[in-house]
Symmetry: C2
Subunit: 747 residues, 2 copies
């Protein structure tokens, strides 16, 4: 039936690996009969997914700018609302009032050694029907930059992360009183002004280097898909790792009458002005720098000698914003569950764009709409979900997950009681399936990735994922791909709407999307258009349909399962790996700190200084002590045992009595909740999950076991063992819940 | 006395490490009294070294082009001859007749999709007094390219090494019948046309990318020291890993009456035409390519999208040379040893340049001259070396070590009987001391590096070398630097005149030079001028003097030692490390081959193909068998034991009877010879050393245990165990010689 896959499985000699699902084996959470029924349902679901629907919705929804608070945004919300209703959902718009600054003044000028005024405009290009809609486009800017008008010498800070400032310090370069210019990339953008402000800079410019997403990556738009000279990456720079959502209403829904922080007290606004610019605007600034030549890894793709400064380039940055509240319009569409109406399976994608957003977010939103339409059609033919389906199209994601966060905060109690899981998508393109999420759902996602076929290659997307690792340049990665029994889920940091569900409310989450084979240089620019999308991303929406198949299966299997398909082994194994990592991190830091202190004491930094540059020795750091990781190790052992017990029970679980299954499900729904603590993470109580969090200094990038890991990384040695105990406690609580669920099934 | 160093040693808590020489301890090969005498001699020697001498000679010798066969070259040879004679040496010019093609026709034209004719000229620049000497300058070209006139589509091949062609094959790109364009770097240049010809290309262009030594590395000359838009790297492309020297007289001196190969049979000429070009000439060619975007690591610093082709760029390359014999003039200056006239210590640097060559080779040649002048002065004051000193300024090094190879081949028997060691230098600059050579001399060089002080920092150059490792970004390197007892010598590949001595004749060799802190973008161009040198390399010739101190000490200690300062431990330890490496290499290749074959069998390469590019699966390779490395392991054990015995004997050896020491010295002189075999390496009999060789596919880059390592790398599995035995035999022979020397001392 599936000759390619069967041949492959034989050749790989790893028969346990479900590269392609065995159509005869039951799905996790389904009996044999239930599996047959579910597969039949999915076949009907697949047949109802139409690439032409996705294309037409995408064309329509990206036809004009539709950012938060815009007429285009409202029109799209109302269009989607109508559609959901037509498909048979109970649909509504949930509205919040959120802080959304838009620019009144944007000015960047080079004052010395010559004069230059940055253009700060993205021109219309030939063959792109929407790039000239200047009247409705948001200007190029970073949301939640504060107002300011500052003048100072310029310093090039590479990616603008802490390690870059250490390099500058080693060269005697201090950014206090200076304006810094950073390249996009290497961290989430909001980290750059945050660190620049911590170091005393007056303002932060962020530019798109052509080595990253411009001509060195591929031909410039419209010849190719990559960022042209004047293209700018907009984006939020709120301090999202502190808390996302509306800056004025942390922890509560931003309803019209919510108690708000005065803007001056909102801690997630930047402390200095920040503005993104194109490389065409950055080049004269960078070319005007003197000072040391930038270290080799800092050099980008401009035809200049990258220098650090400070000066003689002197720059004025002037920014002023209109600090208004605007409505965030979340479209919520519900199909009530027939058997378990109070168990909710959530499925969301954001709806708002920075400009036209054909890729981001429309490509993901239309996949979600395709799923909803298909389910609506099934419902019209008699299908009723066992559990309640909640579809959401979020607003204000681009500014910092505003719509989803405010909704999740507003409905926190109900969600914590009822939410089974949240399935997220965002931008989609052609390529590999990216799968991130709660590791209790890894088995589920492996089964799905073994079922859904890559539209171009006809093989299961799981097989394609494995193929990428098998053909890569890294032999160790190849060996791991050959050895492993399941495709790993990536741990989730932040950057899309799963964050409030997973990390604030402790709801198991998935984040899904295809990508890697589009020509993606239009991110957050006016060039993220329908015309771009159909040339360079997913021309025939085939991967849009594939995404609907994947996310639709995840939603439907969670909704229809006879016993929820959460499993323990991947979670336990993955967490055990994280414990290995944090122990190794401490060991490495201890060894490296000692060696570096010896080098400092030996005066090596002065002796190694080149003749024509300054070198400043770093200060010695406290030696890193040995820590007691035993509580975590013991907790992992308990979790492994519980996982084994639960997975064995679950394998036979669909045969248990309905009441036993209902009891187990109720425990499983709260499984991810066990990994959270009410007091949250140190210094950022909004983030409650103690296994996955966005890094305080990486932004989108995940830190696993964040309390422990960041305490070690940030050399808060006193906090490490306290965080070890806290992390161990959530693992034990999780283990206890699995044990309880296993007992419930046995009753 | 040396407070900084003493403090350092205490802090490093590694008291065995001679970061700074203990002035009280005897030098290797000297008694306590002899040490005092030697140190006094070296103090007088140092006092006679004058930066102003070096500067004046450098100015004079780089004042006009002085390549092989040029009037400027002859004038410099005669000037040096006079100087050596004036300093009291018996000096002469040893002349050979060598093949040296110079261009008659050079033409590179883009014929499609538009027309462009490459300039192939380096213009004069302001502030550089010699860059306009067009009448005497050699044009930009690669020596030993064959004649040709070919037209074909262009393909970009990155560095042009075998791995790059594998990447192209994976994309379905075949260079047969095409013209390739490669970036300089990543291998010795001669590898690029060699591999291109093996793959069926019609011609090879090599260009200097600005990411490597142009504006991305630093400001362009004359503003900074880096290669300007029209700068070209000349250089030889003879197949030097087969044999260096005159292509027509392999293995014999190219005397006027030597039997010569017909040129058509000379195997070291290229098989296809090859020409180096500037980035200004390369940019229109590269920009005219279509086809897939080049892989990320292939992209350089030009503001274009690097594409692979083939075509539509169509290029004509037309080259014709004047294939004449010219005289190579080696200046040889001898100061006869008073006690051991038949033990020769050789000290050489090349004299010829590609153009004016202020850095390459004049900066090293003037250090050598400074040493010779100082020794001449000492001799005038009554000093006589114990052993004979032979100073050499070689001609024709740039074309492929012509002068040194022909001289060494011509004098092979005498050299093998008499040569103690050969001390080489080449270009010099400011920065770190590079020390490469025979590991039997590692102890000697550590003692010297502990004595000579960095002219800018005032600390021993050994301390500065260690400091570089201590402050680098790699913690593992830092730890190794803290742990190791001696600074390691780099193993020698090729690229300068030590090769005929070390690898053909089995004479222990050293290669020394400071560098890393000059702004070195003028390599092999007309911009390697005195004006460049004194702005960007070693402005006050302080590192020139330091090099004379280092190389002068090496020469003088070898000449004056009461017992030759060869030691066994570093040799044995280093070779043991090489054995670890080749075993690990075989293990890794076995594992990687098996995994890759599984990936191929699984069809992963087809499945991983992107939608808009071709992907071709590689062919499976034979699985790598297990090899018997036991003979090498046993040989290493024997060598370790012999080294221990010899080093212990040598530590007391200066107290032995003169006859015993003479006998031991006679054995030590032949120690390195034991590491060679008459039949040479597989396929390249000229290279006889079985521990160090230039790689057949790396060129200058060393391959240690080359017979074994290249058999494994090149998958000549049948040859591996034979090469293991051969390598083991030379190690055993070397051990036997050390054992014999230890016995001799005990007599």
């Amino acid at each position: 039936m599936r000759p390619v896959a069967l041949l492959l499985a034989a050749l790989l000699a790893a028969p346990s690996v479900p590269l392609s699902a065995d159509a005869g084996a039951p799905l996790s959470g389904f009996s044999a009969a239930g599996t047959a029924e579910q597969r039949a349902l999915e076949a009907r679901f697949d047949a109802l997914l139409k690439a032409d629907d996705l294309r037409e919705w995408a064309r329509r929804m990206s036809a004009r700018p539709h950012h938060l608070g815009s007429p285009g945004g409202r029109a799209n919300a109302e269009f989607a609302l109508e559609q959901f209703r037509a498909w048979g959902f109970e649909a509504r718009i949930d509205e919040y009032q959120v802080l959304f600054p838009t620019p009144r003044v944007r000015r960047v000028e080079l004052l010395a050694p010559r004069r230059f005024a940055a253009k700060l405009q993205e021109p219309a290009v030939a063959g792109d029907a929407t790039s000239g809609q200047h009247g409705e486009q948001l200007p190029t800017y970073n949301a939640y930059s504060i107002d300011g008008d500052v003048t100072g010498e310029l310093v090039f800070v590479n990616r603008g992360i802490p390690a870059d400032y250490e390099e500058l310090e080693r060269r005697g370069i201090d950014v206090r009183g200076k304006i810094v210019i950073a390249r996009y990339g290497g961290s989430w953008r909001g980290i750059k002004p945050k660190v620049a402000a911590e170091r005393g800079a007056l303002a932060c410019l962020i530019y798109s280097d052509p080595a990253d997403d411009g001509y060195l990556a591929g031909e410039e738009y419209p010849k190719g898909g990559y960022r042209p000279a004047d293209g700018v990456q907009r984006g939020s720079v709120a301090d999202m790792p502190l808390y996302p959502g509306d800056p004025l209403t942390p922890g509560i829904g931003a309803t019209a009458d919510a108690k708000r922080l005065p803007r001056e007290q909102a801690p997630t606004l930047t402390r200095i002005p920040v503005l993104p610019i194109s490389w065409a605007d950055a080049k004269p600034l960078l070319a005007a720098l003197a000072g040391p030549v930038a270290p080799q890894p800092w050099r980008g793709g401009l035809p200049i000698t990258y220098r650090l400064g400070p000066g003689p380039a002197k720059v004025r940055v002037q920014l002023a914003f209109d600090w208004k509240l605007v409505p965030a319009l979340n479209v919520i569409a519900v199909m009530k569950g027939a058997e378990r109406p109070d168990e909710w399976v959530l499925r969301g994608n954001h709806r708002d764009a920075w400009v036209n957003g054909a890729a981001d977010p429309v490509s993901g939103a239309v996949a979600l709409m395709g799923e909803a339409r298909a389910i609506g059609e099934l419902a019209k033919a008699g299908f009723r979900p066992r559990r309640t389906l909640v579809y959401a199209l979020w607003d204000g994601e681009e500014q910092g997950l505003l719509g989803s966060v405010e909704w999740a905060e507003h409905h926190a109690a109900e969600l914590q009681a009822k939410a089974v899981a949240y399935v997220n998508t965002d931008s989609n393109s052609r390529g590999a399936l990216g799968m991130g999420g709660s590791h209790s759902l890894q088995r589920l996602m492996n089964e799905i990735a073994g079922d859904v076929r890559d539209p171009k290659h006809g093989v299961p997307v799981a097989e394609r994922l494995r193929a990428f690792d098998l053909v890569g340049a890294d032999p160790a990665e190849r060996q791991r791909a050959l050895d492993r029994a399941e495709l790993p889920l990536e741990a989730l940091g932040s950057g899309s709407d799963y964050t409030p569900f997973l990390q604030h409310l402790g709801i198991a989450a998935l984040n899904l999307g295809f990508g890697g084979e589009g020509h993606y240089g239009q991110y957050h620019s006016v060039y993220d258009s329908f015309d771009h999308y159909v040339r360079f991303m997913d021309p025939d929406f085939a991967y849009g349909v594939a995404l609907a198949q994947v996310a639709g299966r995840a939603t439907l299997r969670l909704a229809q399962a006879e016993l929820l398909p959460f499993r323990g082994q991947a979670l336990a194994d993955t967490v055990a790996g994280y414990v290995d990592e944090v122990e190794a991190l401490a060991t490495r830091m201890r060894r490296d700190t000692a060696a570096r202190n010896r080098a400092i004491a030996a005066g090596a930094f002065a002796v190694a200084a080149p003749p024509d540059e300054t070198r400043v020795a770093p200060k010695p750091r406290p030696e890193v002590p040995h820590f007691n990781f035993a509580p975590l190790r013991n907790a992992v052992e308990r979790l492994r045992g519980a996982a084994r017990a639960w997975d064995e029970a679950a394998a036979r679980g669909t045969g248990a009595a309905p009441a036993a299954r209902a009891k187990a499900d109720a425990l499983l729904i709260r499984l991810e909740r066990a990994l959270t603590r009410d007091e949250g993470l140190p210094g950022r109580p909004w983030f409650r999950h103690h296994v996955y969090a966005p890094g305080f200094y990486t932004g989108y990038g995940v830190k696993t076991l964040p309390g422990v890991r960041e305490a070690i990384e940030e050399r808060r040695d006193d906090a490490v063992e306290r965080e070890v105990v806290r992390a161990a406690e959530v693992l034990v609580a999780c283990a206890a819940r699995l044990e309880e669920a296993a007992r419930a099934l046995a009753e």
